[in-house]
Subunit: 516 residues, 2 copies
């Protein structure tokens, strides 16, 4: 059997590790499409899945997709060695979990290591996640999984104390508390090396929003230098190789919408542990449109966060918050930044300010910068006396942005459409999911200046013809898409007086907005 | 957003349905690697997964892998429409099963339909199979799954009675009973439209072995014509689109080695129901190296086969057989054919003849061609009086082979190595898995004349220097690979007199062959 093949590269980022062999030659060697082999480029190895082709690959040649070529540093014309791969040890442990067994620490370590070495297929990982969802993880398993995820990537050791962090389980539009909490607690003298994510399905992630003001794509070394100098930063977590296994697990969990509780807890806490956090505040918004919709699940999650944090040597406080409505007025990167900058100057949306100061206050108390019960007041004071704003300017400058940017300087889309109340009433709901969809249709988060402005919130009394919200876009076409969508999936519901009616059908017809 | 794209085809059979878009253009349209979209070529649709590339795809272009292009009949330069796909309805039902629910018939139908329409990803299917493995299927679910699999493909209606069939769960090397049972029961006047599989991991499948004598790649129409004329055939099932969903489920189950009981039962019985079988004999070999290794599982499976068959209007009899040793002497397509032709002429390995006649006898009794308790004797008689051989010649001729082929005419590899007993003793085990691996290393099943010849079986007393087995290959290189492997994983174990010894380590050391 031939074991050396000449590399031809193909510029396709396939997401999966695929190589292509000549079909005839592969068959002769008992290799078939879907088989898993090891490619070795002078010691740099990857586990790959085989594709075959009759014509595009000649005998003696191997075609590599871009991601595989990069992983093993292979260039056009290199000679690669191809070898059979053994059965990954993880399969047995995944099967054990499937059968209801309890996984030992070394078994979980093996699964995460083999995941990182690309030895497991997406199908095997899907099977693992499904098994964890059905069978659950006990405390020891969750702790072991968290540690394994921490060990799968780089870690940050600032060498100073106390290091604090915060997290939000997500789903609430406009919820940019991080951009107030970081400067508040940093101004108080705590260290907060905050990493945030970019949006996947929402109008903007904290990293997308912060990017309007500064560079968020930092290396771990840059983050360390900035935090040691200014006590805080707001960086994009995806580029830093912290808790790397988590990024791969998310690729499986996300498309299947599968979030086993223990995996969610391990995923969050591993990211905190990896940056050396000692005190952590976790925000769990609960309500329709938020990621967590049931109070029972929020309670269970909260308990797990507390217990597992303690086992990892961190102290966490968990806050279940009202997640049914968006926070702030602007939705979309630049519009959210405008709210944040206003708030840092003592103005800004009341809900955003209050929620951020509550969470920041809890962190100040845990970190020893406020007596019990005084955290909120101190946080609010740091916001009102301009110290948080000064701190934010330092952070923006250290991250390569313009510290003197004013809210009105931020480029906001020029194409706009306003929506008005059709009748008198009280606002029943501002729907997070609808708001996110409309803002995305308008171009957010890629188009920084696009999104929505909300002029009302739940409970407000409105008159017919009163302005409810405005869609903002940098593209005329996208504005018209978003406006059509807003007419279709009305994001703001008035409280219904008549809840339903029964006509000649004899069936009670609910008004669509209440039946949704 | 652009919705029309010009096709460029790429000759790669990716196994998964992937298209490649220009990265920049995709990003502008909020499409990312891994997203699922529908491509439409004038009404012919497929659900595809998106890849992106910076350079090989121009804006306005879409690159299709060979399998996708074929599926929707797209050619270079065609204009395709790209559309968002909704969330497949199956996801909710897969989640229901995950959560421990019982699936209704229409829910199972939806999953199998969406599977056939390529609307489900491999990850979603892996999650489904994992859920079925953990949660199990009740009788109604298994019946519904079987029916859905039958309906996913073509079916055979011979219009004659009685139609019979047989199945073996597999794993036993050389177990070519089908090639004796089919001519025996056909000679007795029953109709047996037998479809068999090719080998995946064993030395040979029945279809691989029959292919030495005749063409096995028949259409459903050809099979119908042959069976109506001769009462029997031995065809490859993979080319006929019978119970098609099963082939796709196997693609998921096989690499994960996941065989939920209900799915295994549905898979087997759907193939029988699809050819219109009324009476079915099922052989479950149990033992080390066989597919089913535990008697408990064999018992459970047997019960399910009986119950589910009845619900589908078939009568099944289940035989748990000794599966620890290979059957017959030859291992590999041509060598197994030699055993079969010898047996049809009243000679041949005793174990092969006996097992085949026991199973054929049961079918004769179910099908009304033998009184209760007389089936075995009649089957043996049909073999000994040459009627089964005459029938086999008819079948071979109808399937385009040479009916007059003699055992010695079959081309057997010229490269051979013999292996001898190292000491006196009694044969303890002939290891199915080792035998399969060695025969495959020698070239089977692709190389028809390669494999092994076994000269002893379990229980035989042997003298030092006595011939145990011989490796046969059509390639000198492969012979040497196979010989090395045979020395490494000795396929024939002598009964150990000393089971283990304790030395100065104070630990009892088991002899490797007994500890295996």
């Amino acid at each position: 059997m031939r074991t050396k093949f000449a590399v031809r590269t193909l510029d396709i980022t396939a997401g999966v590790s695929v190589v292509i062999l000549n079909e005839e030659e592969a068959t002769e060697n008992d290799i078939f499409a879907g088989d898993r082999l090891i490619v070795d480029n002078g010691g740099k190895q990857a586990v790959v899945t085989v594709d075959v082709s009759k014509t595009i690959v000649k005998r003696g040649e191997i075609v590599l997709f871009a991601d595989v070529a990069e992983k093993i540093g292979a260039k056009q014309g290199d000679m690669l060695t191809l070898a059979q791969t053994g059965h990954p040890a993880s399969i047995e442990f995944i099967k054990k979990k499937m059968d209801g067994g309890i996984l030992q620490e070394n078994e979980i370590d093996t699964i995460i290591s083999e995941l990182m070495e690309n030895k497991l297929t997406d199908m095997e990982l899907a099977s693992f996640i499904t098994s964890l969802y059905i069978r659950g993880l006990n405390t020891e398993e969750t702790v072991a999984l968290t540690k394994a995820i921490v060990n799968s990537g780089q870690t940050l050791d600032l060498g100073v104390h106390p290091v604090v962090d915060k997290h939000c389980t997500g789903g609430v539009a406009g919820n940019r508390t991080t951009m107030l909490i970081v400067p508040i607690v940093a101004a108080a003298g705590l260290y907060i090396p905050k990493t945030s994510s970019r949006s996947i399905t929402s109008a903007s992630g904290t990293a997308d929003t912060m990017e309007v003001l500064a560079n968020v794509d930092l290396t771990l070394e840059e983050m360390k230098r900035i935090v040691l100098k200014t006590h805080g930063c707001i960086a994009w977590g995806g580029g830093m190789n912290l808790a790397s296994a988590d990024d791969r697990l998310i690729k499986i969990r996300h498309p299947m919408r599968l979030d086993p509780k223990g995996v969610m807890v391990a995923s969050v806490l591993a990211k905190k542990k990896a940056v050396g956090a000692e005190f952590v505040a976790i925000d769990i918004p609960v309500g329709r449109g938020a990621k967590i919709t049931s109070m029972d699940l929020a309670n269970e999650l909260a308990r797990e966060f507390v217990v597992i944090s303690a086992k990892l040597g961190m102290k966490s406080e968990i806050f279940i918050t009202y997640g049914r409505d968006p926070v702030g007025c602007g939705i979309g990167p630049a519009l959210e930044c405008r709210d944040v900058l206003e708030a840092l100057q003592g103005r800004g949306p009341a809900d955003l300010v209050q929620k951020s100061c509550k969470l920041a206050g809890a962190i100040l108390e845990m970190g020893g910068k406020a007596e019990s019960g005084r955290g909120y007041a101190i946080a609010l004071q740091l916001l009102q006396n301009g110290k948080a704003y000064e701190k934010m300017k330092e952070i923006i400058e250290m991250q390569g942005g313009n510290p003197n940017v004013k809210p009105d300087d931020l480029p906001i889309g020029q194409y706009r459409e306003q929506f008005y109340a059709q009748e008198d009433g009280r606002i029943h709901l501002v729907d997070n999911r609808a708001v996110n969809r409309i803002a995305r249709a308008a171009g957010a988060p890629k188009s920084k200046g696009s999104g929505m402005i909300l002029y009302v919130e739940s409970g407000d009394k409105v008159k017919k013809g009163q302005l409810l919200f405005e869609i903002v876009s940098e593209s005329e076409t996208k504005l018209s898409f978003a406006s059509e969508l807003a007419k279709d999936i009305n994001p703001i519901e008035l409280e219904a007086v008549i809840l339903g009616k029964m006509g000649e059908t004899g069936v009670f017809e609910w008004k669509p907005e209440t039946a949704r």
